[in-house]
Amino acid sequence: MKKKKQCDVESDVSLYVTETGGSSIVRFKSLFTLDSKYLLCPCGNVVKVYSTNTGECCQKLVGHTDTVTMVAHHPCNKLQAITSSTDGTIKLWDYEDGVALSSLGFNTPLYGIYTLPQYPSTAFVVQRTDKRNELCRFKLEFSQPKVDDVEVVANSMDKLTDKTIAFSKGYFVVAQPKSFLVFCKPDKVKWKNRVRHDLNPKEPAIRCIACHPKLEQCVTGHENGELRFWYNLSDSENATFNVQHWHSLPALSLSYTSSGSSVISGGHEGVMVQWTSDGKQFLPRLGSAIQQLTTSNDNQLYATSHNDNSICIVTSYMTVRTTIEGFTATGQSLPCGLNYDPKTQSCVTNGKAGHLLFYFPDNDEQLYNLDIVSRNYISPVDLEKSLPHTKITRVGFTVTANNEHLMATAEYDKENMTDQKLKMWKFDESYKEWCLVTVISSPHDNRNITSLTFHPTNALCVTTAEDGYAKTWTLDDNEDVHIQCWGWCCESTTSYRGYASSDSSFSQDGSVLALAFGHTVSLIDPLLLDDLSLLVSARTNIKQIEFGQDSNCHLLVVATENSLQSWSVITSSMIWLIDTCGFNFLVKDPFSDNLAFIDTRHT
């Protein structure tokens, strides 16, 4: 085994990041194209063009050097889109071909771009100066590389985001927590004519705003979940509103449909509500909180962007047509780590709550989210205290000798100390999906499972846990002549002096199973369940153990809090020892004989 000290790595091989994928597709508002065929989503430095029929990513608009913040239609050309970015430019794109046509430079990061079909030469940007956002008007001309005359329309506003600015025919509104401004255009020169509507300080603050596409009406979403429909906007004295209340948590997003006949709203409940003059319609259980809502120009489609980085394309009949999923695992801890699935050759990790995510890192593409826990998403009653979800803590894969693909998952609800389950899955070749074979409830007496390892060739699985037991699970070879029930059962339990068992590892050929108990490693024969030998290895507890591959398959690497050791299982002797500073984890490359060790110095 190649001994790779940290210093070696620094001097010989320089590791560098080749690509960063998995950006959020829901952070900024997406946009339907005018023919409703595509959905343009800002995603990191690129804009992804998704088909609204299939949810497939058709095109990537690459060119910006920093985060793309907004997409807008070109006021004249249907097939072009304009994007704003924090790199200080706006770019004009042909989204079907994926070509950047031209670029306009600003001096400041841009957080939004708005165009109006009625005034093709005028556009608005949100630019950031001195930690404040300003809404500015400028002349939309791509003939020059720079924009010179920028007219600030609204400044010194806090929280000027795409949710608090709404444009309509001939006017626009900008919302503040306790007031909102209506900008009208009386003479054709300046947008300075504004009407201010103030809320009573005791009234709930405004979170989002949307305005009617044709009439002078707007709707505001408030932090207590109520919606206010405002009429008579241009009159500061006589503006009236009526209140509708369904959301129990703050309304996060609002949108009028393009005809203006109804309003859709979404919030933390994960329910899309459509408000019409007759009443309201619901589309429940969309998965998680709705961050953004977009409506298409032909009144047929809605897009709901969710916290779990997915976008649902909803038809006007309130049915989900397709789901676009970005890399789900953004911004959450990954208790089951990164795993390699030999079936799809994808990377597997925690996805949505209670789901496993299958992801291709090479092309930043998500295969699917597999529901493991099978529980409904329940929005929390109180946003401060989120509901504990049963988390998938461990996952393991194997391919057996007769080419069956098996998966094991361990799930656990840490908060309630319940719901520990070990689930065994098998890939059904005829249905092309994972099907559940066995559910084992409370396999380790509701103590944390520390590792889950499959035998390299046999249908044999080992779990170790903090309760001090290592259990081997096998597919039941029924004693009876007629095998009718077919499932996994516990074959053996091993413990050593009650020490917590921290890790397990199979040798490459599967003939030796190493189990770490406290500061010792026990080697057993996994098929005959005989004790082979005991390596007493460290003064401190073992964190992780890993067998070598190929020419080093007789070596066992043992990681403790402050050292890395290599033991030969043939002679039961230590080969080498390196002192390390802190332990994070140890990873084996399945295709070479290298191991990676990550310490806590830089993380």
């Binding site: 589309l283 429940p284 259980r285 969309l286 998965g287 989900v320 789901t323 099978s374 529980r375 409904n376 329940i378 929390p380 009653v381 205290k385 509901l387 504990p388 049963t390 609800d413 309630n416 100390m417 319940t418 719901d419 559910v439 409830s441 409370s442 509701n446 029924n478 004693e479 009876d480 002549v481 007629h482 009718q484 029930c485």
Partner: protein, 501 residues
């Protein structure tokens, strides 16, 4: 994906019997018909030809029972003393039986008077069987000899004197005309050849042999005696193939099923065990009320007849084919219902038709319907309805768990008065000692006591009784746990000391 996922209950793990094919096959034997005989039923045998009557040897008579009516159709009572081992010829026309008075009698199945009486044995004859050629029969006697008789002349053709004790069982090889296998109380099984008049193979079983069987191929011998059945290969000179020991008292009889794929053994321990002959593993077990002495299976396994030492004869018939019952059940459905059920089932769309799938409405249990509407207290009520909470307490526990997960358990437990509280407390009393429910139910108990704390002094008498009962249950449970821990400790002590030794 916006489908509601229903609440999942963890089924209670039970050591349920696995419903194998064998289990279903032998379970389809109906409740036994019991007939009282005059004495211990020492032998039962089926007529190999139609109408498949069976001969029951008990006391001083041989009775012929009809399989259909379970009644005696004929009695052979011309025995001076206890009769033994009545056996049919392969054409089903003749019957032979031994006797305590040393004579062997041959009957026509139609007649009543013995056609032939074979005299020559000096002690009671327990085994009589026809040979394959239909012209001869053999008998084995307590005088340690085995004789082969010519039917037409009543003459002894062979006399084998190898055994050193009572010969109590024997059989004929169907593969070869000249081979007789007998087992005796001298622990040996002997194979005799009528041509050479010689004892070709001697096998030591190790216990008095009560029953021997030969496979139709004639190469494998099964011997039963003591608690074990032993399997021997005759072609390898009587090499022991395997030993099966599943009874805890003497095995008295063995028989094959109709196609010799299963072996049945009866024992004094009142069990009939059924083995797969490919690996001699028990596939099924049938219990009886008395010690079993004899057993027979009809052709096609339609009927299993077992004779017992306490003069009882048990007859079990296989249930008739289920298809007819199904048909009858279908008839019960009214025609209108059938029509509505079948409507459109066999409709084939045309090539150009656009098929619109019918939207199947998701069926949800009552508590799930309430959960879907976030009516948590009502969901708990629905899960505490008598038929749910008594028949499937795991569902109620799953609902409680879901309430804990949703963090609404406190709200749904509080404000319970009267009957609602009584139902909940009764459920807790019933199930709190169940190991798999205990973690959830203990939590629920805690929360319930918290919410009832203020009003606990002025609750109705019934409720306070239930609280007391719950307290008693908890108390006895904790005592039990202490006892169990003690037991575990002492067991560990024994186990660890035994490992060291």
């Amino acid at each position: 994906s916006s489908r509601y996922k229903s609440t999942e209950a963890v089924p209670i793990a039970t050591a349920a019997r696995k419903h194998t094919q064998d289990y279903n096959y032998w379970r389809s034997l109906q409740f036994p018909i019991i007939v009282k005989e005059y004495g211990a039923v020492t032998n039962v045998e089926f007529q190999p030809t139609e109408p498949h009557h069976f001969a029951v040897t008990a006391s001083s008579r041989v009775e012929l029972y009809s399989k259909e009516s379970n009644e005696v159709v004929k009695t052979f009572s011309r025995f001076h003393n206890t009769a033994y081992g009545a056996s049919f010829r392969s054409d089903g026309k003749l019957l032979v039986a031994g006797n305590e008075d040393t004579q062997v009698r041959l009957f026509d199945v139609q007649g009543r008077v013995p056609l032939r009486i074979f005299k020559g044995h000096s002690r009671p004859v327990h085994v009589t069987k026809f040979c394959n050629n239909k012209q001869q029969l053999f008998s084995a006697s307590d005088d340690k000899t085995v004789r082969v008789w010519d039917i037409s002349t009543e003459q002894t053709l062979n006399e084998f004197c190898g055994h050193e004790d009572y010969v109590r069982c024997g059989c004929i090889s169907t593969a070869s005309e000249n081979t007789i296998v007998t087992g005796a109380y001298d622990h040996t099984v002997r194979m005799f050849d009528t041509r050479s008049n010689a004892n070709t193979i001697t096998i030591n079983h190790g216990c008095p042999v009560e029953s021997v069987l030969l496979f139709p191929s004639g190469s494998i011998i099964l011997s039963a005696g003591g608690h074990s059945i032993k399997v021997w290969d005759a072609l390898q000179g009587g090499k022991l193939l395997t030993t099966v020991s599943n009874h805890h008292k003497t095995i008295t009889c063995m028989t094959f099923n109709h196609d010799c794929t299963r072996l049945l053994s009866g024992s004094l321990d009142r069990h009939v065990k059924i083995y797969d002959v490919t690996n001699y593993k028990v596939v099924h077990n049938i219990d009886y009320a008395g010690s079993i002495l004899s057993m027979a299976v009809s052709p096609n396994d339609e009927t299993l007849v077992v004779g017992m030492a306490d003069k009882m004869l048990s007859i079990r018939h296989r249930k008739q084919c289920n298809k007819e019952e199904m048909k009858e059940e279908n008839l019960h459905l009214s025609k209108r219902k059938q029509k509505s059920m079948m409507r459109g089932r066999n409709f084939v769309p045309n090539k150009d038709d656009i098929v619109v799938q019918h939207h199947q409405k998701q069926h949800l249990a009552k508590y799930d319907q309430y959960f879907r509407k976030f009516e948590h207290s009502k969901a708990l009520d629905a899960a505490l309805v008598a038929h749910v909470s008594t028949n499937s307490p795991e569902i109620t526990v799953a609902v409680l768990q879901e309430l804990i997960r949703r963090d609404t358990i406190r709200a749904s437990l509080s404000g319970r008065t009267g009957n609602k509280l009584v139902v909940l407390l009764k459920f807790l009393c019933r199930n709190i000692s169940n190991v798999s429910f205990a973690p959830t139910l203990l939590k629920v108990c805690e929360l319930l006591l918290d919410s009832c704390l203020e009003t606990i002094e002025n609750v109705p008498v019934e409720v306070s009784h239930l609280f007391k009962r719950l307290q008693n249950i908890m108390h006895s449970e904790s005592l039990l746990q202490v006892e169990m821990t003690k037991l575990l400790g002492s067991m560990d002590l024994i186990l660890s000391s035994s490992i060291k030794n």
